[in-house]
């Protein structure tokens, strides 16, 4: 069965001409079509374009040409701008928005030969932890369709978990790659802030947003990231540091690796069954020769409040451009300018987006700026300082990705705070700009649990190495939900 192959195997088979891209694309498109009613992972399916690209890829491969991902089908989270294909950001505001240009990530993957099958569903403007804020309806968890897939990259995680695509792009502002990866039992990596260009990635919170990958394995993620990462002169916050070959160090032995267990992540709130999964994974590292020790990051508990000041502040400004004037939703028959603004935005944005715009507007207001925004930035630096000290002692930090496994649809929609607390373990890496992964580490009550690995800036290779070694010892990442197996 083609869909049980990893991206790594598919890329090799394509190059060896054991399989054709058109054949692959047809197979995956069929799976996508079949899954849509149940999962709703895709907002747009670009079958025609994908088949044309697949044909081109087959021709290139037949001629001995083609990039590292030539002919490999992938999906893009629907906030990466794709020229000629609508980019909705999961919002009514951009329901009919067709970008005139490709995001850098999209262009790079295209240049590597990857074939886009469609655009993946997500929480509106990447604001959410359950994919329930999407204007296009929630995505459902392939392991149990009454459960959420996590968010905001819920479409990406569900699609990879159900093997609708071998890999997908995703973004992570406060856990939006890692949390859904954990909920869906797949591998996700959020690189160092600045490692992957944000150009063409529709902004939620600019200082936290980072593009990354959700794939079936660390090796597959490395293969994708190798093509996506690198300096982009169009993104002033992208960093001009050479991209190592993420595939080269995957097998490196872990003997002597110093792993810090994040004490605060094992405190109250962590589901005991989930914790057992995490501990079992940690035991694998011990067997592989790594040294484990507990590490405390005292300011970590402040991550959620800091995040919910900084992220809304930036979002309130980033989303000001959706005013109904140049693109996006425009209300009908505006009486005057103010009416145009008010109704276009009221109609175009959903409740969670509005909540964050209002929170952000408030914390930036005259008289409140110092108390909220400035203070949050100060605490943010303290949190980054905690990590810096920790990485003076250990090579990697590990802990659970989420406090619990996937929850039921609707379970947390009434109380935003409960929903926000789902990101309690993931947010700090964004605040500090650090690379972080979620790797499948077992099942608690039949549902996937995720091990989170956090590293120092630009240590993606070390993260991928540890995750890959774990995946050589375990097969959690190879489990596919029954209906999609």
């Amino acid at each position: 069965m083609i869909h049980r192959q990893t991206l790594t195997q598919l890329a090799a088979d394509l190059r060896a001409r054991k399989v054709g891209s058109v054949e692959l694309v047809r197979a995956y498109l069929a799976r996508i079509e079949a899954s849509q009613p149940a999962l709703n992972a895709f907002v747009s399916i670009t079958a025609e374009q994908a088949l044309a690209e697949a044909e081109a890829a087959d021709r290139a491969l037949a001629a001995g040409r083609g990039g590292a991902l030539a002919g490999v089908p992938i999906g893009h989270k629907d906030l990466f701008c794709t020229a000629g294909v609508r980019t909705t950001c999961g919002s009514r505001m951009l329901e009919n928005f067709i970008s005139p240009y490709d995001a850098t990530v999209v262009a790079r993957l295209k240049a590597a030969g990857a074939v886009m099958l469609g655009k993946l569903n997500m929480d509106e403007f990447a604001m959410g932890s359950s994919n329930e804020t999407s204007h296009f309806g929630p995505v459902r968890n392939p392991w149990n369709s009454t459960l959420v897939p996590g968010g905001s990259s819920g479409g990406s995680a569900a699609a990879v978990a159900a093997r609708l695509v071998p890999a997908a792009t995703a973004t992570d502002t406060g856990g939006s790659i890692r949390q859904p990866a954990a909920f869906c039992g797949v591998t996700g990596i959020k690189p160092t802030y600045g490692r992957v260009s944000r150009y063409g990635m529709i902004a939620f919170a600019s200082s936290l947003d980072q593009g990354g990958v959700i794939a079936a394995s660390a090796e597959d993620a490395a293969r994708m990231l190798r093509e996506m990462a690198g300096f982009d002169p169009r993104d002033s916050t992208s960093v001009d540091v050479p991209v190592p070959d993420y595939l080269a160090g995957l097998d490196a032995p872990l003997a002597g690796l110093k792993i810090g267990l994040l004490k605060e992540f094992f405190d109250q709130g962590l589901d005991p069954a989930y914790e057992r999964c995490v501990r079992e994974a940690l035991a694998v590292f011990t067997r592989l020769g790594a040294n484990l020790r507990e590490v405390s990051l005292p300011n970590i508990p402040l991550s959620v409040p800091v995040y919910y000041v900084v992220a809304p502040a930036e979002c309130s400004s980033n989303l000001a451009r959706y005013d109904g004037v140049r693109f996006g939703h425009r209300c009908l028959e505006a009486r005057d300018l103010e009416d145009l603004y008010k109704r276009s935005r009221s109609e175009g944005f959903g409740a969670e987006v509005k909540r964050r715009i209002m929170t952000g507007t408030y914390v930036l207001s005259a008289g409140y700026y110092d108390a909220y925004y400035l203070k949050a930035q100060r605490v943010r630096r303290l949190i980054a300082g905690d990590f810096e000290r920790a990485f003076g002692e250990v090579d990697l930090l590990m802990g659970p990705t989420t406090p619990t496994v996937a929850f039921a649809l609707g379970a947390k929609t009434a109380d935003p705070i409960t929903m926000y607390l789902n990101d309690i373990y993931t947010i700090s890496a964004n605040l500090a700009g650090l690379p972080a992964m979620s790797v499948p580490c077992g099942f608690a009550a039949g549902l996937p649990a995720g091990l989170q690995i956090i590293g120092p800036h630009f240590a993606e290779q070390r993260l991928l190495n540890a995750a890959h070694r774990l995946q050589l010892e375990t097969d959690w990442h190879l489990r596919i939900p029954g209906e999609y197996a």
Partner: protein, 479 residues
């Protein structure tokens, strides 16, 4: 009126003369069809990001160094958030708490000739907004985003000006400076150089400032003067009749010659400034700043001082001639060609040439009369080929025909008579023709000397060398 003191501070917006915009690669040229010079970044499309134009930074640093200000080693771009259709992103990228330039000064000369130093609080980099278009659109408003993203420096003065005239002198000085530095074309009609004036009044001797009104977007020196004068009178009248000045934004209407309220403080936006997370802080090291300093041109004040020392000009003349770099360069080219007569060169450039340019509505750099052409004329005055009076005639012909001075002198036979014998012969003829006047003169009517000068000049069609003529007449007339 005399019991009130006026307090004025100016915020000057100067568009930087970069080829591309401050955060995008789109062209900045003026006058293109609407929305043809706005790229996706200028339009604020989803997903796009700003990238700072290094040339805009260099220009701001040039300005800072020219006014003796501190150049920040670390400055920060901030977002100024407000909704307006010509502001595509819903925020303007500007600098707020940490501007690139802080603490400089501009020296101005007051009407009585005394000097005054006006402090410049800060100058920061920011992007211009687009324009709303109303003409020919009926009830609709059009948006032209060609200007969106054009780099500006906003130059904020201390509230140290005390009259509309001082404000104009300051604005003119800044205008001169930015053009010297070649960082702004200074075109006020196209809006490349414009200002907001903060105006208040207070009783003479009071320490506390009065409540100010901000007059927005004034784009001519004359309007600045008139708007301030109107506003000052309005505020005084208001206070004297028992009213209170409210803090507000006002617009100057040049047709009616008055200022009108735009919005009050209560309606003012809360701009919610915060550092732009899409741009890193701007870090400039000393080596960079020094490299910009090394490339600075001679500045107007230094040039004026040099003109006084080198050419023996008055401070006033030196000031006039250094008002623009083109004018100063022109003058120097002329002065170099007539090295013995720098003052003559100054008089001609400020006099005949300025009048002719003014009459034809031309700029000094128009090329209508190149410096070497004017120098060619002055050389002929200096070597006494022609008199100053004839020179004016030659100048007019040069202006009209574009021919050289020598060609005109030759063609018209205007060469001055310096041959003593020829002048003597002319004098003798005049004396012979006017025996009565000669007798009167010799009887003591000294005033008739002028009559003889005139007659000889008439006889020589004005070509007799005046100095020689005087001397010879003095010898001959007494008999």
């Amino acid at each position: 009126m005399s019991a009130w003191e006026t307090v004025i501070g100016l915020e000057i917006h100067a568009q930087l003369a970069t080829r591309s915009k401050i955060f995008s690669g789109a062209a900045t040229a003026y006058g293109a069809a609407p929305n043809t010079q706005a790229c996706l970044v200028d339009l604020g499309y989803p997903g796009v990001l700003p990238v700072l134009n290094a040339e805009a930074v260099r220009m701001a640093v040039r300005f800072g160094l020219a006014i003796g200000a501190r150049i920040a080693h670390h400055s920060v771009f901030a977002r100024k958030n407000y909704f307006y259709p010509d502001l595509p992103k819903g925020y303007q990228i500007s600098q707020y708490e940490l501007p690139i330039v802080a603490g400089g000064a501009i020296d101005i000369v007051l009407e009585d000739g005394s000097a005054k130093r006006i402090g410049v609080t800060r100058a920061h980099l920011e992007e211009d907004a687009g324009k709303s278009l109303h003409e020919g659109l009926g009830a609709l408003t059009g948006i032209d985003l060609n200007r969106a993203g054009t780099p500006l420096i906003e130059i904020v003065s201390e509230p140290q000006m005390r009259s509309a005239k001082e404000a104009v002198a300051y604005m003119k000085k800044v205008h001169t400076l930015v053009r010297y530095l070649e960082i702004c074309d200074g075109n006020m009609q196209e809006g490349s150089f414009r200002c907001d004036a903060n105006v208040s009044v207070r009783p003479v001797g009071a320490e506390k400032f009065g409540t100010r009104a901000e007059i927005k977007n004034i784009n001519s020196f004359r309007y600045v003067e008139k708007a301030i004068q109107y506003e000052v009178a309005r505020q005084i009248e208001l206070i004297e009749s028992g009213g209170k000045v409210v803090q507000e934004t006002r617009l100057y209407d040049p047709d009616k010659g008055e200022t009108r309220s735009m919005r009050s403080k209560e309606e003012a936006n809360d701009y919610r400034y915060f550092p732009d997370p899409d741009l890193l802080p701007l870090e400039l090291d000393e080596a960079y700043i020094e490299s910009v300093r090394a490339a600075l041109p001679e500045l107007p004040d230094a040039k004026a001082e040099r003109f006084v020392a080198q050419y023996g000009l008055s401070a006033y003349d030196a000031g006039v001639l250094t008002a623009s770099r083109d004018l100063a360069d022109y003058y120097e080219a002329v002065a170099r060609a007539v090295p013995t007569q720098p003052k003559l060169a100054a008089n001609w450039v400020m006099g005949e040439l300025a009048a002719a340019l003014n009459q034809d509505g031309l700029e000094i750099g128009s090329g209508k009369l190149p410096a070497e052409r004017l120098a060619g004329l002055l050389v002929r005055i200096a070597d006494q080929t022609i008199s100053g009076k004839i020179a004016k005639e030659v100048f007019e012909a040069m202006w009209a025909s574009g021919h050289s001075a020598d060609a005109i002198i030759e063609a018209k036979g205007l060469k001055q008579i310096t041959d003593t014998g020829a002048i003597e012969r002319a004098i003798e003829e005049v004396m012979a023709k006017n025996p009565a006047q000669l007798a009167d003169y010799r009887a003591g009517k000294d005033k008739l000397f002028g009559f003889f000068v005139g007659q000889v000049m008439k006889a020589t069609q004005g070509k007799a060398n005046p100095a020689q003529l005087n001397e010879l007449l003095k010898k001959k007339l007494p008999g």
